[in-house]
Symmetry: none
Subunit: 399 residues, 2 copies
């Protein structure tokens, strides 16, 4: 469904919709021939499956493994190939820095350079975060003509560099050659509109390396992934509703904010996320809840922990259902099979529960059932149109 059509058909209603994203939910059969979701204790999810419809999402396309950015963008009803969050923007968003429309961000590494200026360690021996924080403070003394400059530590040797000002362009190259034994690249414009920005960045790099030159480790910088915030139509305007993100981790909060959602902050775990939803129940029509632990366990390759993370989510579900939402969607932003210990391309289980569902006589929320469920396998960006239809928030097309 394209955004013009959404804009045209979306309508206000007195209904509440909750989107629960279990990060990396989808799995693959483990040692006992069953997936993480099949092994988990999902008594509440299974009850919802029985009363609801099952299906699967395809976040980007067949065979495409999505990062967290595109995985969420798609669930928020945007085309993840059209609205791409660059690495710089995503990293910046991930530390809670609010990117403005005139900001240009790069992901940075402190690195080690030898006497000839060649890179000897791209990560400066994984410099501790504390040390990187001090280096960032020192780098903040660099001023550039006509723009504001921000240098923010991320983790270990990683930092972000943000330039703020009119007319900045992402059409410039990386300084990071992504290998050692060569000097950093000189940043250059990749098209004419990048000329001025490239010149500013070269000035910054020269002065940064002068400041860092006396250090033993981390005497150089590597910059890559220059990007601005994607210029997406705000979610609340598109859908004519009040939308809130309730997350623990800044990255997911950041992506939701880039899409124009409010953020309700302060939760440290999923129970607290539910409490915040309850507290703000009257203030919003749509709540996005992000649950991280399924993905962390999957990425650790820890099958049992992922099973447990799903079971724990399930145990907390009644707290959400008690609020009597009209529609609840449970899905993931991508699969992270514990057997693979990375994100994967496998379609993601999807459960839509609430008003006007057509049931599919499936009694368990599992990958095999989702593959034959009522909803079918649909692009992730179609999930919210479907949920909002169930909530009476999409008008008829044509007379």
């Amino acid at each position: 469904m394209d955004l013009d059509l959404i804009r045209r058909l979306s309508q206000p209603a007195d209904t509440k919709v909750i989107l629960c994203v279990l990060d990396g939910l989808g799995g693959v059969q483990g040692p006992r021939g069953r997936t993480e979701l099949e092994e988990a204790n999902t008594v509440h999810l299974d009850r919802m499956a029985e009363a609801g419809s099952l299906g699967r999402t395809l976040p980007v396309g067949h065979g495409i493994t999505p990062g967290s950015g595109p995985g969420h963008i798609a669930l928020f009803s945007y085309d993840p190939l059209e609205y791409e969050i660059g690495r710089g923007a995503l990293e910046t968003t991930g530390i809670g820095f609010e990117l403005g429309p005139n900001d240009l961000a790069a992901r940075g590494n402190l690195c080690d350079l030898d006497a000839d200026g060649c890179i000897t360690d791209r990560r400066a021996g994984r410099l501790p975060t504390e040390e990187t924080t001090k280096v960032c403070e020192a780098l903040r003394q660099i001023a550039l003509p006509g723009v504001e400059v921000f240098v923010e530590p991320v983790q270990d040797q990683r930092f972000v560099l943000i330039l703020r000002g009119e007319g900045l362009s992402a059409a410039i190259s990386d300084s990071d050659p992504q290998r050692e034994g060569v000097p950093p690249h000189e940043v250059a414009a990749t098209s004419p509109e990048g000329e001025r920005t490239a010149d500013l960045v070269r000035q910054w790099v020269t002065r940064a390396h002068k400041i860092l030159g006396t250090r033993e480790r981390g005497n150089g910088t590597l910059l890559r992934g220059w990007s601005k915030r994607p210029d997406m139509p705000p979610f609340p305007d598109l859908w004519k509703l009040r939308a809130a993100a309730v997350t623990v981790y800044p990255m997911y909060r950041g992506v939701a904010k880039l899409c124009g959602m409010d953020s309700i902050e302060g939760a440290q775990d999923f129970q607290q996320q539910i409490d915040l939803v309850r507290k703000h129940w009257d203030d919003y029509d749509f709540f996005f809840l992000h649950y991280k632990y399924t993905d962390s366990a999957g990425e650790d390759g820890d099958f049992r922990s992922k099973v447990d993370a799903i079971s724990e989510f399930d145990a907390m579900l009644p707290g959400l259902l008690d609020l009597e939402p009209n529609v609840v969607v449970v899905t993931g932003d991508h699969s992270t099979p514990a057997t693979m210990a990375v994100h994967s391309w496998h379609p993601v289980p999807l459960l839509v529960w609430g008003d006007n569902v057509r049931r599919d006589h499936l009694h368990q929320f599992s990958e095999p059932n989702c593959a034959v469920g009522e909803i079918g396998t649909i692009p992730a960006k179609e999930v919210l149109p479907l949920a909002f239809a169930h909530a009476g928030r999409l008008a008829k097309y044509g007379a």
Copy 2:
């Protein structure tokens, strides 16, 4: 998945992928209420189905019956509606003639003309191939300014005419009116860039008809389907791998070569194709194997022979699996139900076996099972992206 995205995400890996195309694989229930695939002895395919995922391909679209060209183009991950192999190019490719980038090809018929120049038989009484071969030799004496000319017999009254030179254009009309009782059309440019080419072809036709004028049968020519080789990005560049086609019939070899694959030649049957794969196992990352006999039997309307062709393929499968490929795909380029005795639009059974598959608890490779399999019904051009994802050859999209 569009080609830009493939080019961006594809990555080399130390894995082997085999694509087995059983021509015309898909069927429809025959006299005993089961399809050819259901009736066949598929003990090895069924074992692969059990350990792998099933699904179906849609070569071009719902209700669209593909020719062999688009059926294969799609399986090679190209959009068959974007990259169209014209009739002239396909016919030329089918006889093993290697079309260069400056070649323009037409499909030709020898026909019978009466004293007024009107067509009395579009096929010259299906002139024998030998006779057509001699006619082609005679026609080779026609030289045209600034271009090389090739005239090659195909079968019966069919031949191909190929012009080779700079600046030739397919923007010219057919001389074949596709009916009798009228003279052949004069070839004309359909847009300005075709003017010079049309003029060359008119010269060729005039001189050809002068040479053939004294013959009793086959005293005229009909030309249609002017086309150049499709300008597709080479498969090995797109996927960053070494690709080989191992086929018996020149048409399929030709389509693979048009896509930039190498051809390993010399096999007369499928067992020899397997032997060639084994011999060249270290030289390539991807092997395309074409199996013709399912389609020939289907086109003959011979249900039993198609069942046997599938069983024979199945019996040879262990020879491929012994090579320990990472991923094996078994599918067809289209359906050819024996009950119809022609190509059809029915979705085609698909089996993906290998690393990181999510199993679907289906134990037989059959049309009904494929309709409810894990993979779903996907465009044929998404099959290799999926297979290469399983083989670790597609990087993550977005951070």
